[in-house]
Structure formats: C-alpha cells, structure tokens
Symmetry: C3
C-alpha cells in the first residue's frame, strides 16, 4: 500500500512538472507593487497560522486521536498547497496573479480541504488523507473556476463572496458531508465518538487562533483601501457570534458546552465572508449574531437528528460550523450588497451545493477502495507509543 | 436571570445603534494613507493575539477553572470591543480616528478590562463577566477621555503614556483590585485558590504570546518612523524583566516559581509603556530590570501580606503584574522623557488611581447584586462534562 | 553561585554600556525608508514567535522537564538578544544597519543559540544556560563576521546563505553537539531520556509555530521585491519535507513516530535557507523532500548509532534537524545558485564546521566548571511544586 502511495505522489509530481511552465519569475516590479505584495504576504502568513494551528488544534478533541488529527492537518496542507499552486500557475490557466495572490488562493483551497476532512476525521488512515487531498483540489478548482472565474459563462455578473462563505466554507463542508455519507457504516453510527475531556483547552487554542487571524483571511485579496472596513466587520461578526453562542448554549442545553464555544463562536467569521467588504459594522454584527445562533442550534439540536435521519456521522460538525453559516452568509449578500445580481448569487450557491455533494460522494467511494473501516480509528493503529 | 441578560444586551445594542452615526465609511483615501492604515492593521491583529491567546491562556492555571477562564476571555473581548468602538465613533465624540485606530483603541480597552477581570477570576459566573464588561468600558473611557483627550481641561500639556502603563495597565489592575475588595467574602480568604500543576505550560504559552507581540501593543499608534526604536525598546525591557525575574525568584524563594516566570517576565512590557518611544535602549533595559524585580517581589512577598492586611484576594496577582509596574512606568517617564510636564504626569497618575478605585468598588457592588458567591467557582457549575 | 551570576551579569552590562556609543537614534528618515523598516518589523515579530513559542514548545517533550525547557528558552532569548544587539551596534563594528535589521540579526543569533542549547537540554541548570548564552554569542558573531562580513578576507565573493542554513542552523547544531561531547558522562549514556507521552501535542504546537513563520525567517533581510518568491519557496520546501517525513517514518519504523513529524517536517525550512531567494519553486520542493528524508533517517537510524559510537547524547536531535539539513542546504547552493563562487561556499561551510566544533567543545568545558551533572536534570531540582 505504501508503495502505491509513493508511486502516486511521484507520478503526480512528474505530471505537474512536465505540464507547467516553470516559474522562473523575473523580479522587475516597481516598488509600489512590491509593497502591495508584501502587505499581502503578512496576511498569507496569518492564514497559514489558521490552517495549521487553528484547524489543527480545533480538531484535537477526539479521544486517542490527537496525534493523527495534527499529522493529518500537516499532510493535508502540504499536499494541497503546492498542488493548487502548481496547477493554477500552469499553462492550464491563462491569467496568473502575483505569487502571493496565488499562494493565498492555494491557502483558500487548503482551508476548504481541511473543512471537508473535518467531517470524516477519525475514520481515515493517514495515506487516505493524502488521497483525499489529491482528489479534492481539482474538484475545488473546478467549482472556483465556474463561480469566481466564470469558467462556463454561467455567472456573468459575478458573485459576492470575498471571504469565501460559499466557495470555501459551504463547499468544503458539503463535500465532507458527502464523503462521510458514502463512507459511514452502520457500525460507526452505533459507536459514539468520545471527546477527550482534557483536550478542550487545545480546541480553544485552535479556535482562538482562527478567531484572531480571521480578518486576514477575509481581507486577504481585498484592495488595500478597503481592508480597514473589512477587518472591523469581521471582528464585529465574530464578537456577535461569540456572545450569542454563550447565550444559546446555556439556554438550549442548560449548561455551557465548551465545544459550542470553540466552534460556533467562529460562525460569524464564516458567514461574514460573502459581505465582509460591503456590510456596515452593524450589519456585520447582526450577521454574526444570526450565524452564531444557527450554528449553536446546529450543534445542540440538529446534529443528533442528522445522525439518526440521514445516517451520517459528521465528526467535527462541519455542517454546523461551515455549512449552514456559509450558506446563510451567501444569502445575506442578497440583502446587504447593493446592485448584486440576485440570480447569479443564487446560481453560485446552487452550483456549489450540487457539485460539492456529487464530487464528495464520488470521492468517498474512491477513498473506500483504499480501505473501509469497521471500527473507529485510534492513534495506536499507525503511531508509535500511542495509548491503546 | 438569563432573560435579564438577553434584554440587557438587546437594550444596549439598540441604544447604541440609535444614538450613533452609522459608519458607512467612504473609501476615498490616497494610497499612502491606506498603506499607513494597513501597516497599523498588522499591529491590531498582533494585539488581538495578546487579548485572546495571551491573556486567555495566562489565566488558565486555576484548578478546575480552565474552561471558564477561556470562555470569560472570549466574552469579555466580544462585549468590550464593539461597545467601545461604537461609542467612540458615535456623535458623542467629535474627533474620530481611522477605523483601524478606533479598533486599536477598542483593543486597549479590552486589554484593560481583561486585566481587571484577572483580579476576580474564579469568583464570577459567566454572565457577571458580561456585566463587568458593560460597566467597565464607559468608566475606562471616562478616564481615558480626561487624561489622554484632556476632556476636563486638567491635563493641558499631555502625558507620556504611549503604551498605556498608566491608563491601560495601572487603571485595569486597580479597578480589578477594587472590584475584588468590594466582593471578597471572609470565606474566600480562607479557601486557597489551588493552582493546577499540569496547566503551567498553558500559562507559559499565554505569557509567551504576550511577550512576543508586546512591541506591537506599544507601537500600535506610534508614528511610522518611530516604530523601530520603540520596538527594540520594548524587547529590551522584556529581556530585562525576564532575566531579573529568574534571579529574583530563585533568590527570594530558594527555588524558581514558574508562575513568577509566566507573570513577572512581562513586567518590563507593562512598565516601558509610558516611555517606549522616548527611552534609550539602555534606559529601556533598566526599566525592565526594575519592573521585573518589583513584580517578582510583589508575587513572592507582597501578595501574601496583601491578602492578610487588606482582606483582598487578587486571583491572578494583577496588582503585581500590571499595578505596581504600571505606576512605576508612569513615574519613570519623569526621569526619562525630556520636556515632560511633571505636574500633568503626576495628575494623570493620581486621577487614574482614584477613579479606578472608586469606580471599581462601585462596580463590585453592582455585580454583587447579581449574585454573591460564598464558595469558589468551579467549571462544573456552568459547564457540561467538567470534572466536579 | 547565585552571587557569581549576579556579578557576572552586572559586569557584562557595565562593560557594554561603557564601551558602546549609546544609540540615541534620530528619527529623520524619509517615509519610504520608514515603510521598508516597518515591513521588516513584522517579520522580526514573526521570528520572535518562532524563538519563544516555536523552539520553546518544540523542546517540551522530555519527561519532568517542561518547566525548565520553557524557562531556559525565555532566559536564552533574553540574554542573547540585547547582548548581540549592543555589541553589534557598538563602535566595535563599523557599519550599522537600521535598528530593525540589527534586531533581526540578534534574533538570528538567538535562534542559533537555542539550537545549540537543544543538544544539551536536560543537563544544565538554569544559570548554566545563561553562561552558555554569554559565551555562545561572541563565538557566533566571530563566525558570522568571518563568513558574512568577510572579516578575515577569506570569503571574497560572498556565500549563498540568506536564510542561514550554514551560519545559523549548522553552526548552532554543531556547536551544541560539541558542547554535549565535552560534557556527556558515562552515566548519562546509560540513562535514557524519557519522552513525556502527553507532551507530544505541545511539541507539535511548537513545530507548527516554526513552520508557519519560517518564511519570515528566511525573507527577513531579503529585498522587498524578492520576498514573494522567497516565501513561496520556503513553503514549498516545508511541504516537501513534511510529506516525505510521513512516508519515511512509516517506511523505516513501521509506524509513524510523532517526534519525527514534529522535527523532520521542519528540515525543508532549514535546508532551503541557503537558496531560498534563488531556487525555482520545484527546486525548493526537491530540496525540501531531500532534507526531510535525510532528517528522518537521522532521527530513525543515525541517532542511535551516534550515541553508541560517538558517545554523545544529543537531547533534541539537533544534528538531525539542523546539522545535516543545514549542511545539505549549503551544498545545494552549489547546484542551484548561478554564478556562485564554489570555493567560497565550501570554505564557508568548512570554517563553520571547524569553528563550531572547537568553540563548542571549549564552551562545554567552561560550563562544566560550574557544575557537572551525574544524573539527569528534573524540574523538581530548581522549580517549586514540580513533581519529583
């Protein structure tokens, strides 16, 4: 099996190398352009903190699964980042951004992939995450190409999705959900995923890393003069979702659930993505409040029913954190953004939902070919010195 | 009780919305100004790391209190940030900075609030932190308005307090001390606050996050050409306090106390605030050495006596980390800053001390109306699945 | 003993103060230069995250040694940073950079020192780390002066080592190895250094903090227009080493070793240092793949033999993470960088190896004068409340 992976990776790298125009970029920019790009560079680093430390540690809550969650994060980022970058700067695409812009787009793809992986966390072996990454990236690029770059001529007037509520968050969540759907066995439904009580502080660490750097995610590709307003909006949305998560969690459950805090507090960041550069601060706060409420309701009420009715185990609850708030954010743009083409916005949402579900389901079937688990994964299986 | 909070928050938001001029900021700045603001934006993000990850994890050392310390941090930031921003950009204030400047000022308020909350950590329920935040912010703004914006015409020639030794650190610490004073019961004095031995590494994580980003805190609103000198000064002060903390801790106590390291190592950052843009590097180092020594003496010697004599329990020892070093930093400016109006500087310190103590005491009484504890708070009280 | 340290530190500070031209820097730069310096400032902060949180937590894996690893990190940084800065901006050196450039150079020295300390971690008392820092910095500066500033006229055409594969990583690792060599007792060889099973997530946190900010380390002093290409190269190298570390670890050992992941995943960053601004992206990826493979082989195979044959205990395996990949990176420049003077590059590598080993061995002997351990250090020895 290991040999198969070796060959697969080698083949993929070779194909990429041969098909692309090697990037021996000349450094002939003017100072001003350089400044703009170095500005963006700081945001690219912030996003990288979110990808590794943010997503990585947010997922460290499953019992006996800390090592693999962090290793999986490392591998998913390391596979998707160069893969997206090399394809997107190859001759396949006609227009290329600056290197930092391409890096940020690659980070967006990695974020969406990490979201998708969250749905099946604890059910894949390490090499299956690599396969997931290799399949996910091209599908993600297809959706992005259709919606953002109007690849098929379907979205003529553009969509409002600066911070990726639709194409990053909702796409990743629904893709992951579909992978889970096509992989979940009856046995898994019976076996509860146990949280590790001592890991909650790691989860909060991941959550806070996502929270503080989220404005850099949303403002990453925004023109320099619009950054301040965007940044304040994102913080307002996050403050809104954090407050409401506390109120909703204690109201619905009677006591505060720390996993609600770690997760739903971020829903404002997810939902503000589509409108982060257009909303007023108060609108941003309201979007955050709504998103946090929806997300907490998702974790506290819907998740249990989802498992029973749809026969899906969504390990990290990505439907509730990225799926519902992402879609809500996409719809919110219709109210908030002046002059938005409503039919284009709705088409973008619909295309994202459909393609994520179809390609995700397909991907789940492919991954199953490399091994279909009957019992929950524990670190012990692949990691040395891990507790049994 | 929950309904009361709901209504309170809703009312506050409504009042704010109706009274303020909505910020539909036009984006018409020149490139240079935009650059300057995006420069500041990076520092605003750094400060946010300090608020959530820094303060949050520094406080995760009390036994059975990790979840609530982190949740309280989340709530305090989420309440104070929009509250300060909306009031300070409303028609109540005549002159408005750029959005990022206003954001940074709001972060300063949140920092001061977190310091104040550190004094009563482990004795409030979650909704009481929200009340604390709602009351603290207006009081903080009043002091800031009087001292920095010369609101009452008392501080005509200005004070030296760029990095907030006086108005942020000392104010927050003394405010918190007064809240603790008006709330501490006899029972609490008898019951020791137990540190959680396994949490020390989290505390150091918080401490390090504060340490590394502290220069961005002090240099946040400094003119671009003064930033490099300021930044080096802050690091020098922090290096000084870190070294002396080790020496003082092992000298006074016989062995190193890891809590001394986590806390007093930061005293240099607190104390350099008033003079960070004026001191020479050697002066900065000396201020750091002094501040670290004072702070360690505070933790190792004064804290015990304070509890006995003044009948106060200052949970996180904010008096020792932010109070004494903050005041020392304010006084140091008299020696270090050329042309400083000494009487204004002294007035600013005096006003800060008096208003922090009075308003803090008052706030403690108000919070007590919403429930006065007889036994130490444990996570189990409000959080699901927490150990009893 | 404590008094000795007190006097030593005081003396060192006095000597420095008196010998140097005090830096009362005038703030008279043009806006453009200021911008460039503030740009660099962000990278200086990123590097500081790597030094404290990165190196600090990466080393928190030895049983009963968490507190001292973190305290040692604090002390090493706090000693070396002002020491390097004050010496390098004194009259001893003719040409001075901007304050931020000098700060970054000081951070590089601190990084190299932390690497060296990693080799003897768990065998020094806290004050011995201070002595190590005081001795290391001048030796490090000597090597840097000879190689980068062509101090002895030996390296006339310059070397390729932008990100410090040779003068920072290899130098630190070999210096530390030599310290370990001259200090390791027979007893230590018998006593295994036990890893703390619950600390692996802290190590990964440190590792991830290093990973995400590594581009800022390599690009810290690069001209603004070359930063984007450099940054992408560093990420490509890190992605390469991360993927190969997983594959090599599971292939060699049968199961994944989480310490391999935490360490060898970073080898790409170490090795790309010499060529980060010259390599193509694909070359960067290949250098990362090679470095990760070498490093994992080092941890999985060589480390055990090193201990037996060379009678050295390299606690953190810095030879495998910084030594071998650093040297490899230095050699890779010969292939990658057009117009490089090969003999200068080879001389630089040779000088670094020889001076690191000699001065390191000497330093080990000096430190041994202050106490030579027979038993492994445990936190309990110097820290209050630590488990025995």
């Amino acid at each position: 099996m290991k040999n198969t992976i070796f060959k697969f990776v080698a083949l993929a790298l070779l194909l990429l190398c041969s098909s692309m125009s090697l990037l021996a970029q000349e450094v002939t920019k003017t100072n001003l352009e350089s400044f703009l790009e170095v500005e963006q560079y700081n945001r690219a680093i912030h996003i990288m903190v979110m990808l590794l430390i943010g997503f990585g540690f947010l997922m460290v809550f499953i019992k006996k699964y800390g090592r693999s969650a962090l290793t999986a994060t490392f591998l998913l980022v390391s596979i998707s980042l160069p893969l997206y970058f090399l394809i997107h700067t190859s001759a396949l695409f006609h227009e290329h951004g600056t290197e930092i812009e391409e890096l940020i787009l690659a980070e967006f793809a990695a974020a969406s992939l990490l979201i998708a992986a969250g749905a099946v966390l604890g059910r894949l072996k390490m090499f299956q995450y690599i396969i997931l990454g290799l399949i996910f990236v091209p599908f993600y690029m297809l959706n992005e190409w259709v919606i953002i770059e109007n690849g098929l001529g379907l979205i003529k007037n553009g969509v409002a999705d600066t911070g990726g509520s639709i194409v990053i968050h909702a796409y990743g969540a629904l893709f992951g959900l579909a992978v889970a759907m096509s992989m979940t066995t009856k046995k898994e439904l019976e076996e509860p995923i146990e949280a590790d009580a001592t890991s909650d502080r790691y989860s909060i660490l991941g959550s806070m890393a996502l929270w503080v750097f989220w404005p850099s995610f949303c403002a990453a590709l925004v023109p320099v003069e619009a950054i301040p307003h965007t940044v304040v909006n994102v913080f307002f949305a996050l403050c809104g979702s954090t407050i409401i998560t506390y109120l909703a969690s204690i109201t619905i459950r009677g006591k505060i659930n720390i996993a609600d805090i770690a997760n739903a507090a971020l829903a404002g960041g997810v939902a503000i993505g589509s409108t982060c550069d257009h909303a007023t601060h108060i609108e941003a706060l309201v979007i955050g409040l709504l998103a946090g409420a929806i997300s907490t309701i998702g974790f506290a009420i819907i998740q249990g029913k989802q498992k029973k009715l749809m026969k899906i185990v969504d390990t990290c609850g990505v439907t509730n954190l990225h799926g519902l708030p992402g879609l809500m954010g996409g719809f919110a743009a219709i109210v908030v953004v002046n002059g938005l083409n409503v039919s284009d916005q709705l088409s973008a949402i619909l295309i994202t939902i459909v393609s994520a579900l179809i390609f995700g389901f397909l991907t789940g079937k492919i991954i199953s070919l490399f091994g279909h688990r009957k019992e929950a994964y524990v670190d012990h299986e692949e990691f040395m010195d891990a507790e049994e």
